[in-house]
């Protein structure tokens, strides 16, 4: 690899190697986006509403790209993580409350991931009290004892397994003409459950941890301004891949469960429900995909939370530090993994309710993060010529306002559901 770099090569090859060198942050972030909460939501959306919600995935993708591009650009131009930028530009109080919210949101998400682990392995007849502690310890060791590069490679390889979803879709033999039509035909419905599901889709796809994580990954990769366009390709590709997977899940459930009138409560039921229709393998693939997604996110969320919090408060952080040198960092990581796994083990816990709560917390935090991001991305001293353009701002602010309105709904309906639940 390195030896090849030394030779002058014709333009196209050079472009491709340059792209390969910066590739990663966007794709990894987008892959983690389809986590246990995501899969559950997409499955429910497909099973309950068939193809009625498919059209929303287009606009959601555009919004996701706008938000993620902004985070990547800030990382490339400033060379700082989002947590650093917030601390340096908005001070300790803002940082503190953002950190608290981020810890709570990511803890809730981590609980959802372990719920996903439990659910997927139950399909292979492994009870939660065995699978969850084992996976928790496994995640802990993988992240803390594995070398950074190995961990990243494992994650990248794991994200290739998302092909399980499109395969699952193909195996369920949908009517492709109907799929294409539904994807471009907006349908509205004033029904409360429809609106709630729409908000759930948005909330699960554009989660606040993604901006923090991706920006940190871009910084860590030391991508410089000349490579910005390659990073943009990485981000856009990641977002599209994510939403293709989301699309496959919604579609697979619509083509089977919805048609048969089977209603589902959880992602693992969705997998079981697929079994008679597409054979034993659809169920296995679904379970395998869910396990992979949950594991992947269960490793990344606690780690990234530990990074953001310690960095913004100026505590030592990083896996290359010893435990005693970076106590806050290691305790945060360990604590989130332990609590995340521990909560799932409480008997008779309403796991679906917890996944819902995690999405509400995400939803509450997101508009704040977006507003801070927009203020930073428009700061001329920080971003110079790479600050947001007028049109970009228009799209980004529209996205933010729509998100505020939607998450406002999400919070209200979420709280209502919790109370009436």
């Amino acid at each position: 690899m390195q030896a090849e770099k030394r030779e002058a090569r014709p333009g196209r090859w050079r472009q491709i190697t340059l792209f390969l060198a910066v590739m990663g942050p966007g794709l990894i972030t987008a892959s983690v986006d389809n986590d246990a909460g995501g899969i559950t939501t997409y499955s429910l959306a497909g099973a309950q509403f068939g193809t009625k919600l498919l059209w929303t995935l287009g606009p959601i993708t555009v919004a996701l790209i706008v938000v993620q591009e902004m985070s990547a650009r800030m990382g490339v131009v400033t060379g700082k993580g989002l947590a650093d930028l917030i601390r340096e530009n908005f001070g300790v109080r803002t940082t503190f409350w953002v950190s608290v919210a981020l810890i709570v949101a990511n803890l809730a998400n981590t609980i959802a991931e372990f719920a996903g682990v439990a659910a997927s392995l139950q399909i292979f007849r492994i009870p939660p009290w065995i699978s969850v502690p084992l996976v928790a310890v496994g995640v802990w060791f993988l992240v803390l004892k594995g070398s950074n590069r190995v961990v990243e490679k494992v994650f990248l390889a794991a994200s290739l397994l998302y092909i399980a979803y499109p395969i699952s879709l193909v195996l369920s033999k949908p009517d492709w003409g109907e799929v294409a039509l539904a994807a471009v035909t907006p349908t509205f419905s004033g029904e409360g459950t429809y609106v709630a599901m729409l908000i759930g889709l948005v909330g699960t796809t554009i989660a606040p941890w993604m901006q923090f994580y991706q920006q940190a990954a871009v910084v860590e990769k030391r991508i410089n301004v000349d490579q910005l366009r390659f990073t943009r390709i990485d981000v856009v590709m990641g977002c599209i891949v994510t939403d293709v997977v989301a699309f496959s899940i919604v579609m697979a459930c619509a083509a089977t469960l919805h048609k048969q009138g089977i209603s589902i409560q959880t992602a693992d039921q969705a997998a079981l429900a697929l079994a008679p229709l597409a054979g034993k393998y659809a169920s296995w693939l679904f379970a395998f995909g869910l396990f992979n997604a949950s594991l992947f996110a269960a490793a990344i969320l606690p780690l990234s939370t530990a990074y953001f919090v310690t960095e913004s408060f100026g505590w030592e952080s990083g896996l290359d530090r010893k435990w005693n040198e970076a106590r806050q960092f290691y305790w945060l990581f360990t604590g989130i993994v332990a609590v995340g796994a521990g909560v799932v083990l409480i008997p008779r816990l309403p796991l679906i309710r917890i996944m819902l709560v995690s999405q509400i917390v995400n939803g509450v935090l997101l508009p704040f993060v977006l507003i801070y991001m927009l203020r930073l991305a428009n700061d001329e001293k920080l971003m110079g010529v790479h600050r947001n353009g007028r049109w970009f701002n228009l799209i980004a602010w529209t996205t933010t306002v729509v998100m505020i309105v939607l998450t406002g709904f999400l919070v209200v309906t979420g709280i209502r559901d919790l109370v009436s639940g």
């Binding site: 390195q2 030896a3 770099k5 650093d84 300790v92 070398s147 590069r149 030391r222 100026g314």
Partner: protein
């Protein structure tokens, strides 16, 4: 905090910022938004305060401050002027440029984040004494010092938290991102040069790109070269591109040729050529030769700076040669004996020290070289040879058996451990 104990008292930035600023008649002018300090002195005095009213920022000299208690009271006729539009040399806006930023803790040799600033108020002057990088500073910024102190003293009255603020003397820290003047640059250079190159390299790795470049530009050529040898190749490459080509060339000349070649190898072709052109001829030739090898091969890791001597050389002459070349030699333990370029054998430093007669020629104590590697050999083969035969430097030969350089154990370790 408000205890005026005769001649002096300590104040925190957090205590001052947000205070009402009133003129001599007690009329409110705005709130204190920031302080401007003149750097260059060990404990820089605050020159003026920045006050905010609505969106407008204005500046008042600190010498016109009559008293600081509940509010900041200005003396009669205090000049209130608009803040300068561009940064002024040797002036720092403390809130903007120091607070919440990362700075270098010279004593601890690491990066820290500033939670608060600690001032000494004496004879109408306000001077920066310390930066607060501790937990209590964070709590103070949150405005929770009183309740938290109360709770801690209730639970653990003798907790270290209560009376040991983590304060670092201003003299021992280096801010990175302020517009410095000549005095500051000199002081910074000296302070940074006092750090161990490995610590400096680690600090640079932890900084963001912009800060790293600023810091690097303030290093003198020697310190820069030492630090670059310790950083990862990516960072070294990035920094060489950030300084003017002449300075980059000077730094590369100062670096060990193998490290310089590593740093150059990742640069785009044109930049690399330009830098090689700008370097002094002999150094450039050495580096260019190393660039031909694969970076993870013995050739890519080796240094051409080897003690290679003829068999007739006496012990005295060897020591003289060692002293003469001490500057550019890396680890010296094995001295290689060559005849017409061909590797004949080696003599260890131990042999030389223990030699009874300083007139003994090398040929008389020649040892067989237990292992040499070809310049194409993989780093793992080099590591195995070093480990098996306890070599501190492994000689590298070309296909004809001519000695072309050696790989020293530090470079092998860096490559194997992956911290290079």
């Amino acid at each position: 905090m408000e205890r005026p104990s005769g001649k002096f008292r300590f104040l925190f930035f957090t205590d001052l910022v947000g205070k009402k600023v009133v003129d001599s008649d007690g009329k409110a002018l705005g709130r204190l938004a920031d302080l401007v300090a003149v750097t260059g002195e060990p404990y820089p005095p605050v020159e003026s305060l920045v006050l905010r009213s609505g969106r407008k920022l204005r500046q008042v000299p600190w010498s016109s401050v009559a008293s600081v208690n509940g509010a900041v009271q200005l003396a009669a006729g205090a000049p209130v002027e608009p803040t300068p539009a561009t940064p002024v040399a040797d002036r720092i806006r403390l809130g903007l440029e120091i607070l919440d930023r990362q700075i270098v803790d010279i004593e601890g040799a690491k990066l820290v984040r500033v939670n608060d600033l600690h001032f000494l108020e004496t004879k109408g002057q306000l001077r920066i004494a310390h930066v607060d990088v501790g937990l209590r500073g964070l709590v103070r910024r949150m405005g929770w010092q009183r309740p938290v102190d109360g709770m801690v003293s209730l639970v653990r009255p003798r907790s270290r938290y209560l009376n040991s603020d983590t304060l670092l003397s201003w003299k021992l820290v280096q801010p990175i991102e302020s517009a410095p003047g000549r005095v500051r640059i000199e002081a910074t250079k000296k302070a940074l040069a006092s750090l161990h190159p490995a610590d400096l390299a680690e600090i640079m790795e932890d900084l963001d790109r912009h800060q790293r470049e600023v810091l690097f530009q303030r290093l003198d050529v020697e310190t820069a070269a030492d630090a670059l040898e310790e950083t990862s190749t990516e960072v070294a490459t990035e920094l060489l591109e950030a300084v003017p080509p002449e300075k980059a060339a000077d730094i590369l000349e100062e670096m060990a040729p193998d490290e310089a070649a590593d740093a150059l190898s990742e640069l785009p072709g044109e930049t690399r050529e330009e830098l090689l052109q700008a370097m002094e001829r002999p150094e450039a030739a050495e580096v260019a030769e190393l660039l031909e090898y694969h970076p993870r091969s013995a050739g890519g890791l080796m240094t051409p700076d080897v003690m290679e001597l003829a068999p007739a050389t006496t012990v005295t002459e060897v020591f003289a040669e060692l002293r003469r070349r001490a500057e550019d030699l890396p680890v010296v333990y094995e001295v290689f004996v060559v005849e017409e370029g061909l590797l004949q054998g080696m003599v260890t430093l131990r042999d030389l020290i223990l030699a009874a007669d300083p007139a003994t020629p090398l040929s008389a104590m020649l040892r067989e070289v237990p292992a040499s590697v070809h310049s194409d050999a993989d780093v793992m083969d080099v590591a195995r040879a070093a480990s098996k035969y306890n070599l501190l430097s492994v000689p590298v030969v070309d296909s004809a058996g001519m000695l072309v350089g050696m790989v020293t154990v530090d470079d092998i370790l860096a490559e194997v451990v992956g911290a290079g």
